[in-house]
Amino acid sequence: MSLDLLERLAATTPTNEVRLFAAYYCLAFALQLALGMRRHSRYLRVQPSPAGPPRPRLLGLLALPTLAPRTTDALGVGLLLALLLAALGPAPRLATLIALGLYFAYFSQLLNLGSVIRKTNTAPQVLLVLAAAPGLDAPLCSANASWPLDLIRALVALVYFASGVAKLRAAGLGWVNHGRTLQAYLLEHWLLLDTQAGRRLAGRRRVCAALSAATLAWELSAPLLLLAPSIAPAWVACALLFHAGTLVTMRINYLKYTGIVLPVFLTASLSEHLPRLAARLAELLSLLQ
C-alpha cells in the first residue's frame, strides 16, 4: 500500500461501510467456499446417503431439483467467481445477484452435508440485503444509508436469539438442568463421533452448568446488540469462543460460514478507527522513507 493511498484513506471521512463490508464478506465467503469445494465434490459423488433426511425445501415449499455432481461442481466454480467479482469487480450489484442465484443452485445440493446444514443460512440473507443496498456500487469514501448493515445485524442477531428461544420453549430455564443437558449432548457426540474433548468436558459438571447458563444468557442477549452496539466487541468475542468450543468438543463448525458474518457488528467501530489507523501507518511509512 503506497504512502499516497494511506494519506488519502486517512483523510477520508466518511467511509462507505456497506461497500467495505460487502467486499470483506464476499472475499471471506469465497475463501471458505474454495476451501470446502473439494470436499463438497467428494460428498456429491458418494451419494445417496444410506439414511439421510430429505433435503429442505426453499422457504419450506419448493423442492429444488437434484443436479449431477459435475453440474454442481460447475455451479460452485461460478459462485466462487461471482463472489470474487462482487468483492473486487466493477459491477458488484450484478455479481452479488448472480452469486445469490448460484448460492441456491449450489448449496441446495449440499444441505444434508454436516458442514453445510443450516450453517450457510445467513449467506443468502446477507447477499440479498447487499444486492439491494444503495451503497454497494458507490465509492468507498462516500456516506451511504446504514439500513443494509442494520438489517443484516438484525437478521444475524435473530439467528442467535432464535436458538435461545428454542431452548426456553422446549425446556424453559430448566434447560440448564445443573449442566446435565450440556453433559448429555457432549456425551452423545462422544458416543457417535469419538470426540474426546467433549467427553472430558462432560466429566466436569460444574463447568457444564456454568457454560449452559452462560450460553442461554448470551443467546438471549443477542437483540441487545441492536440497542447497545457498544457491547458488540464483547458479544462477538463470546460468539467466537462459543463456536470454537462447539468445534472442539462436538465437531460442529459454525465459524466457517456463520462466523464470517459476525464482523458486521464491528463495522461501525472499524470505520471510525480506519482513518486513524491509516494516518498512523502513513506516519510510520513517512518516517521509514
Binding site: 444410506p50 425445501r57 439491494a132 438489517l151 436458538s163 428454542a166 434447560w175 453433559q183
Partner: protein
C-alpha cells in the same frame, strides 16, 4: 433501494420470514428455528447406534464416516426402526439388515481404502451412558451380520 417504503417492506419481509421459522419451529430454508440441542436431557437418556466392523483378524473399529453427519443419520434411522411398534420382529430384523448393508455399501464408496474382504462381520451396536460419576459407555449388539459363513476358512 432508496425508497423508505420499499426498504421497510423489504426488511419486514426478511425479518418476517426469520420470525415465521422461529414461531412455526420449522425450517423455511434459508431461515431456520435453530432448535438443535434445545431439549432438556440427562446423560442417562442418551443412546445412539453405531456400525462396528469386526475384521477377520479380530480387530474391531466403529465406522467413522468422513461425512460425519452420516453417523447421526444412521443412528436416527436405526432408532426409528428399532422403536417402531408397528413392525413385527422379522420385519424389523429385515429392515435393520437392509439398512446395515446400505450403510456398508456407502462406507465402501466413501472410503476406497476400506478393505471389504478384511471385514468378517457387521454389527449394529446400541451405545448408552452408564450414569455413574465416571460416565462410561455401555455397548450392546443390536444386530450381528456375518459377511462370510462361520465355517469358511480363509485360503492359506
Amino acid at each position: 433501494m432508496t425508497d423508505p417504503v420499499a426498504v421497510a417492506l423489504f426488511a419486514a419481509a426478511l425479518l418476517g420470514l426469520a420470525l415465521a421459522a422461529l414461531v412455526l419451529d420449522r425450517d423455511l430454508w434459508p431461515f431456520a428455528p435453530y432448535s438443535m440441542f434445545s431439549r432438556r436431557h440427562s446423560p442417562a437418556e442418551i443412546h445412539v447406534f453405531r456400525l462396528l466392523f469386526v475384521c477377520r483378524d479380530g480387530a474391531r473399529a466403529f465406522w467413522s464416516p468422513r461425512f460425519r453427519y452420516e453417523a447421526r443419520y444412521l443412528s436416527g434411522e436405526v432408532a426409528a426402526i428399532a422403536s417402531d411398534p408397528t413392525l413385527d420382529p422379522a420385519t424389523r430384523r429385515t429392515a435393520l439388515i437392509a439398512l446395515t448393508l446400505r450403510a456398508f455399501a456407502y462406507a465402501l464408496r466413501e472410503d476406497p481404502g476400506l478393505d471389504a474382504a478384511a471385514i468378517a462381520e457387521l454389527v449394529l451396536v446400541h451405545r448408552e451412558i452408564d450414569d455413574a460419576p465416571e460416565l462410561r459407555s455401555r455397548d450392546a449388539p443390536l444386530l450381528r451380520l456375518p459377511l462370510a459363513p462361520a465355517s469358511q476358512e480363509d485360503p492359506p
